[in-house]
Symmetry: D2
Subunit: 370 residues, 4 copies
Amino acid sequence: MKEPTFRPAPAPETFNPAEPAEFAPVNFASDNVTGVAPEILEAIVEANRPQGAWPYGNDDVTGGLNERFSELFDTEAIVYPVATGTAANALCLSLVAQPFNTVYCLKHSHTNEDEGGAPEFYTNGAKLVPVPAADGKMTAAALEAAIGEVGGGGARLPHVMEAAAVSIAQVTECGTVYSVDEVQDICAVARANGLFVHLDGARFANAVAALGCEPSEITWQAGIDLMSFGATKNGAMAAEAVLLFNEDLEETLSRRRMRGGHLFSKMRFVSAQLARYVEDGLWLQLAANANAMADRLAAGLAEIDEIAIEYPVDANMIFAALPGDIAERLRDAGFDFYDWGDPDRPNIRLVCAFNTDADDVDRFVEAARR
Amino acid sequence: MKEPTFRPAPAPETFNPAEPAEFAPVNFASDNVTGVAPEILEAIVEANRPQGAWPYGNDDVTGGLNERFSELFDTEAIVYPVATGTAANALCLSLVAQPFNTVYCLKHSHTNEDEGGAPEFYTNGAKLVPVPAADGKMTAAALEAAIGEVGGGGARLPHVMEAAAVSIAQVTECGTVYSVDEVQDICAVARANGLFVHLDGARFANAVAALGCEPSEITWQAGIDLMSFGATKNGAMAAEAVLLFNEDLEETLSRRRMRGGHLFSKMRFVSAQLARYVEDGLWLQLAANANAMADRLAAGLAEIDEIAIEYPVDANMIFAALPGDIAERLRDAGFDFYDWGDPDRPNIRLVCAFNTDADDVDRFVEAARR
Amino acid sequence: MKEPTFRPAPAPETFNPAEPAEFAPVNFASDNVTGVAPEILEAIVEANRPQGAWPYGNDDVTGGLNERFSELFDTEAIVYPVATGTAANALCLSLVAQPFNTVYCLKHSHTNEDEGGAPEFYTNGAKLVPVPAADGKMTAAALEAAIGEVGGGGARLPHVMEAAAVSIAQVTECGTVYSVDEVQDICAVARANGLFVHLDGARFANAVAALGCEPSEITWQAGIDLMSFGATKNGAMAAEAVLLFNEDLEETLSRRRMRGGHLFSKMRFVSAQLARYVEDGLWLQLAANANAMADRLAAGLAEIDEIAIEYPVDANMIFAALPGDIAERLRDAGFDFYDWGDPDRPNIRLVCAFNTDADDVDRFVEAARR
Amino acid sequence: MKEPTFRPAPAPETFNPAEPAEFAPVNFASDNVTGVAPEILEAIVEANRPQGAWPYGNDDVTGGLNERFSELFDTEAIVYPVATGTAANALCLSLVAQPFNTVYCLKHSHTNEDEGGAPEFYTNGAKLVPVPAADGKMTAAALEAAIGEVGGGGARLPHVMEAAAVSIAQVTECGTVYSVDEVQDICAVARANGLFVHLDGARFANAVAALGCEPSEITWQAGIDLMSFGATKNGAMAAEAVLLFNEDLEETLSRRRMRGGHLFSKMRFVSAQLARYVEDGLWLQLAANANAMADRLAAGLAEIDEIAIEYPVDANMIFAALPGDIAERLRDAGFDFYDWGDPDRPNIRLVCAFNTDADDVDRFVEAARR
């Protein structure tokens, strides 16, 4: 089991807004480089009823989300649509952590390292406390040890911030997927210590598709209290949801979303994405393609001696160590991806998406092999 | 010149998400009850290029916004797209006010009373200080008096929060429009006291269409430092911009937008709305219809003895005092609008939009007259 | 009934730390220009037991405060010592107002205009909403009107921040004192609207001494939920208390005080001041002198034709309008005080303290008369 | 080189305010269980001039602090008195880290684990990022590696919070003292990466006394930009200072201290402690006794086979692993101290203070030996 020790910021030329890098025809950089799935775009267009609708979520589409997600998760679920994963995560954490609380997470988790301080902002100063990871996953044992150390749920002195929650990502930032048992174990430790558990489900569809389980099994039945339900990376335009399984957590959410500037006046265009996304299993079909393509890609690369796959490829992400000249050759051939990890040991991240094409995957493997 | 003394929250039945009120066929409640203008919806669809694009604004459409807005405003303008007006306003204020600063505004301004504390949140605790209004407008004299009172730019004691900025809305919350001279006068007072001036331009298009001036005249040339440039109320789906005329203000904006959760991964879908909105004068055409319809509506109502128009109808909003039975009759006839103002003196707000139809306006007047 | 319309910051020369103004032998500028009452200084010295004590309030003196104040207030009272009035006020407000709440206060209240944004800081962004004042007092009627206007306890939309509390000062910033009835009436309106009531008691001793009532009558029996109990202005070195009459409000206080940096390791030196202050009626004796001296001073000044007393002199503060040459003459004679109010109508503030001397008062009046 | 892996909260009975534990006659729990050094108490009494003084630091004693500390540190130093170390640390960090910045520190540093979230509060949400420690010290190499990893000074994406500062403690939380070279090396890495360096000097006197160097050598000459200068643990009642060597950092400090509620009206009583503390070398004399007693204590314990000293005893703190029955025997003999560290390996912390008596030390060693 490994953990990335180094994760450099992308090269400056890639992210210079004044002079954006060329966008490669086949781009495995992230599932967020994609567009919108046709079904979802159609739902947006259809939501544009000429006569209008009540604003701020007082429309039919938004009004129907609770029921739709309650069916999907087989329990009373409460849905608040937002448009970015960072907003969903930060709002979720603000419901479970007061400013003088801590939240256990992983050092390289998105909440801790990739949200520009949004969790600290929305919680008004709560602290994210890293727990050691194995293959990008938190373990129940590591969580238990961390709680025992300092800042655990039983801290008595006001000097030591009191632990209030645990946050894990599913799919993880290393592309691995927690099993139902693993989530249950983490939640059991959390519950025994009075901690809420939040799930960052930016790629939740990929996890459910990979596990082949019911959404309920890997969430509230396992002990998850609330989650960020992502759709954007898997075919939506900009649609995520704060999803609560514990109705006690709802009390302040409406006001927190408002003061964060995330209450959309024409909310139905966000809600329509979410509604269509979970209709007729679309979300799992899209995720299944992404996962299958990653599987195909990993299988192809695994056969190349010079390439080592870094973590179990459980869903739609691959981390691969490979010689620099192979990376260069692939880029010359019109592919793109992010460098990731220790510069002394070239490492790339490849992400497949809802619309990744098998031919592109095969051509990539072939180009790597040559 | 009047100022609303009472502004009740909308009736509960109107805003019960569990059981949304029926949406009247012809609804003057707000310009945000509308859908998306066809041209803008088309631009969104076109932005969905199958091959994807770099995320987080590193795409061509977003990359071109600075140039596009710089042409429109005839100066170097810096554009950061967001998706709600509250986000735009709160981010703007966070650039000009530190946590121990004050910002002069009007009591009934959107920033002060309708954004759920977003300005306080994004500035980490700055204080909005109300200045008396006349017909919904701040006057240079009232601003000067307020600065002289307490908390002015020259406050020496740390006890008294230091003033840092002024924020005005154009179109105002009373539907009035500041003239170029009025904005210049306010900005002159602000500048003399070392204060930045922010413009809440949620309905900026309606103001420019009403004034018939260049966008530059009523903004940076008059002394505005930064503005919230709105598009959502005038035909976009969810697109606003933080627009800076003072490049010194940009330094922290990228990080502030990120930590607020307002950096969209598929940013091009927001940017495409803004780009199309200002292309070929679309924004002013849409606003011109809204203004013309409000004018027609106000003219019609003004002829009815029992109805009094409350403020100058400069743009697309009308506040009218009228007997309760007329309001009831109008609602029974299939029209809708918000109650607004002192309950002892029934008062309604009527807002026309980019797609308001002249026949509907005429039918409304007729129904009111009967 | 009047309200100050202008309150300039003190002249720069008075507050230039690099070159502090000379300190006049007889100084009526504020009761905080005084030193420490001998009894309280002695208590501090006595608290310095050579063998030490448990830190952070786990000492006997601090441990006994709850009982001592419970007796004084004839109810279960919870005491958290701090060292500044701003800390006490801001911590109190943080217990009753969430970041998306509003607190009704007066425009010229200390919390709103003289604490540099501490209330906004400690509440993480709650908004102070001014209610019109009469002679420096809030009235139940004005509070009721403000609640009815916007942002009242029943606000349904997340756009409008929800009211959570009322904060009044006793003695007021104009030197007036609320009667028991007046406090009861305000609290009745608050309670009917679900609002907590906070009392800023920086000069609480002066109010109780003036009213001649029991501390309980003017606080919890009248409906006050929590208060800042001040001692510094009335003879302590640096000692105030967050005082709770409602035990439900205690839950997060210990952690909020800690994260504000107000948990003293050698707490007993703060607690010893509070303990001695309320022992044997010392606090009321000290306040009685201050009040009596203000009364004597006001009576003397009232006889001078050119001088007008601005507000009822209920406790230890006098606001007087007087010609500029009188003020100048007084300063030349070795007295000092702050200018206060509209510069077009010279106005000064005179504050008497626990150690103000009758001879000094008489000499001041004589000097003013000449 | 070791690092504590476990640091339990003190036993509940020790910290139950309702029923404070008995205070042992000889108590090595912390240097904050002490009282006030006689010289400093005398200075407080002397500051109580009957005629009063201008408040808020506009008095002579406070006015003279800058000069006094400038002499002591042989450079232009700026001094802002406060009354707790947490306030000093949190205010310092708020000057160098914006809400979207990170600050490198140690996991078990006071700022990270013992200030109840004050750094996050005062910076409005900046993140403390732990760097691995050796014997309680940060190393330049570990800092460099952490910067290289993620969130370094050169981060380009707004997703990754930008590093702004490094914070180290001197004396460290393990009782070790950084050499001048070690501080220089850390500061060199910081400077090369555009980071400010803050020193938590809660026990700074003990460090200077131990190093026998000039205060300047181990601070600004080595690259320290600002520090928390502690006096409370070493004989003051409640006096610490925010001490700036970089005048650019002062701009917002006055307002930040105010809004934190740390501007004392009768400031001279805090300032008098600081002034006396650094007069005639008192601070170093007091620290020298504490260090000598710790040395004597460590030497005595080191001769006992069953006891192992955990870290170099550089100043006035000793961490000792010892069998549980010895700890019990010591407590029975009337000594007290905190348990510290892994419960499986009993470990205690012993802190000597300015007034620790050699006889008590010797009796402690003897009792441990028996």
